[in-house]
Symmetry: T
Subunit: 74 residues, 12 copies
Amino acid sequence: MKDLTIYKTIELTGTSVTTIEDAVNAAIHRAHQTVKHLAWFQVIETRGNIEKGKVHHWQVTIKVGFALEGPTKK
Amino acid sequence: MKDLTIYKTIELTGTSVTTIEDAVNAAIHRAHQTVKHLAWFQVIETRGNIEKGKVHHWQVTIKVGFALEGPTKK
Amino acid sequence: MKDLTIYKTIELTGTSVTTIEDAVNAAIHRAHQTVKHLAWFQVIETRGNIEKGKVHHWQVTIKVGFALEGPTKK
Amino acid sequence: MKDLTIYKTIELTGTSVTTIEDAVNAAIHRAHQTVKHLAWFQVIETRGNIEKGKVHHWQVTIKVGFALEGPTKK
Amino acid sequence: MKDLTIYKTIELTGTSVTTIEDAVNAAIHRAHQTVKHLAWFQVIETRGNIEKGKVHHWQVTIKVGFALEGPTKK
Amino acid sequence: MKDLTIYKTIELTGTSVTTIEDAVNAAIHRAHQTVKHLAWFQVIETRGNIEKGKVHHWQVTIKVGFALEGPTKK
Amino acid sequence: MKDLTIYKTIELTGTSVTTIEDAVNAAIHRAHQTVKHLAWFQVIETRGNIEKGKVHHWQVTIKVGFALEGPTKK
Amino acid sequence: MKDLTIYKTIELTGTSVTTIEDAVNAAIHRAHQTVKHLAWFQVIETRGNIEKGKVHHWQVTIKVGFALEGPTKK
Amino acid sequence: MKDLTIYKTIELTGTSVTTIEDAVNAAIHRAHQTVKHLAWFQVIETRGNIEKGKVHHWQVTIKVGFALEGPTKK
Amino acid sequence: MKDLTIYKTIELTGTSVTTIEDAVNAAIHRAHQTVKHLAWFQVIETRGNIEKGKVHHWQVTIKVGFALEGPTKK
Amino acid sequence: MKDLTIYKTIELTGTSVTTIEDAVNAAIHRAHQTVKHLAWFQVIETRGNIEKGKVHHWQVTIKVGFALEGPTKK
Amino acid sequence: MKDLTIYKTIELTGTSVTTIEDAVNAAIHRAHQTVKHLAWFQVIETRGNIEKGKVHHWQVTIKVGFALEGPTKK
């Protein structure tokens, strides 16, 4: 078995009062605080809450992939 | 049977010449004119028309959920 | 068989460092350079790359439909 | 927010003893009696009942989209 | 076009603090107050809220089908 | 446990040189020769072969449901 | 080719006037009368009939897997 | 690597004012004018436009597969 | 970027010998022992083991969402 | 109704300690012992068991199609 | 609009008498003869033909993505 | 609530230059270094990179399930 990277994917929901892009960045920003090597994301679902006939905040769920570091040795 | 809220979901397509977010708000804005208690939405499909090599307008289909009021008495 | 238009659909991925809308327009802009009669698109997938805890660029895959012209005579 | 049309989609099941096309037209014909501005449809499911080893009637479920008129004013 | 029944489907979410079955019945009970000829349902999604490590209430979304009556005459 | 009917579903592909409806009926006709109590069907997939630029035959895959009889006694 | 078990999956719909669990057990109970080695099931669809504003009976479709015995010899 | 055929699949939408089958044939007929070796198709989506409470034309989207010829030599 | 909550979703399978609801609660009960702020769940899959012609235990897979606390500072 | 072949599809799960291909062949090999005219298969799901950090055996579920012979006469 | 790469995706089916991997490589090998800049692929479907109780050949359908070059100038 | 095992599922992507099976084993091998009680996996997606007209490496995404140990006491 050669030394090829293994990735793990987690699912996060970011929220924003402005845009879908901002909600995605909010989730990635938070993940970045505790997970290294974030590599890619995929939008899974775009939802939101409504108040007074307007989108109150966007809730965008993404899958985020990151490289796992090897344990033993390192 | 306890007094818990029942929600109904309808499907709308909003259009916008600018952004996906604007198309969603257009649909919610319209629904708000005739339906009370709009609570949440979910983006179902994002399409659009093309003219002269550019997006002419965005067509975003959403499901919109709202609480049903009880019918007088019962 | 009557003379009704036939459409073909191709799948493209546009990229943008700013927004989903911009990535879609980038793909359509490129298609417009070699394909005539672009008529509509549908967003199939929204992904992206992450660098330093931020979206580095958006990768939006769309299906683009266009009318096929008849092949000279027949 | 510009004055762009908003569409609503409803789901209907038409039935026919003859063809899928006829079942679709039956549903649209009925919707047309109470809803204005029907614009498009999409076939969602094709089912049917069987009697004596033959299709007894076709049940075709469609989504039907129509333009919403503005409420008071606009 | 023969006189075969046309059905309409609506989407409702019932809630219950006890069971999935109860949430479904709550939605159907409510629909029954304003819609005639309810005929069948299909469970679309089963979700719920959590409080203190327990399901607080179940939210079950169903599609409910009912026969449309002809509009006067036909 | 009360005496309520149990149904079994099988998957068949009927073929026809003429129509989708005919291909469905061909499959049901064949099933009827060896299975009793056929009750309903659902179209799963519509495919076909092409020869000389025309549909040569339609291949329509359906799920067919039928009531199971109780095995002697019960 | 080593002697590893092969499984077959069939699709059944059980019905019950009380619960989803009861409908599943009804289908499995029936399958058990004619099929050996039933091993697992998966719920595929939960539907039902409505009468007088209540669920009249639940119709739960499951896939049921069972080990195939070798045909004489092998 | 042995000399086994490679197939390519393209997506087309045929239109017809009469039937689904006719719309499929229209798309295949057009593809046949510029692509050799058309082998099979699969119906992906059946939609249509409505005018005056009737289907105005059917729009059937199919995937069409055809064998690729080797490029000179190989 | 405003201070809006970010949620993480994990996937768990709870088991129960009695009901689907009990299996869901078992999974949530376990998650509650090590994860704070559990907020919602969604049923993803309902399976089970069969022994002697009866459901031996239910295996219900859910997605469970919970609010992420900010890491030091923010 | 012309004499065109009708196909039936069954679902099997083959297992193998070595490869996905071998698991598929195991299922087909077993089906071949009791069913004539096996024609095609489609991989539906690829799963497996893990022991000591390795795949212990592969479980590949396939749909297998075969031509139905006419019952006496026709 | 910045100079970011646009990708196109095509769908191919490769065949092999030996393995799934070989069928994928066969399709990519063929595409490489006429398309530049092949970048990635995704397996869409794994099917095959059966003869004499064995897989006769594997048919693996993949989506293949490649970078589009700019058309002269612009 | 009885003492029945609860499982957690995580999503990993293994890579390999040789086979799909090897990529799956690489992901499981890595998970085994930090997670106990790995029990099963399911293949979710099979992708890969292309270089010089050949698969450069396979990227296989799997869901891996493992039993959760009880947290002290319970």
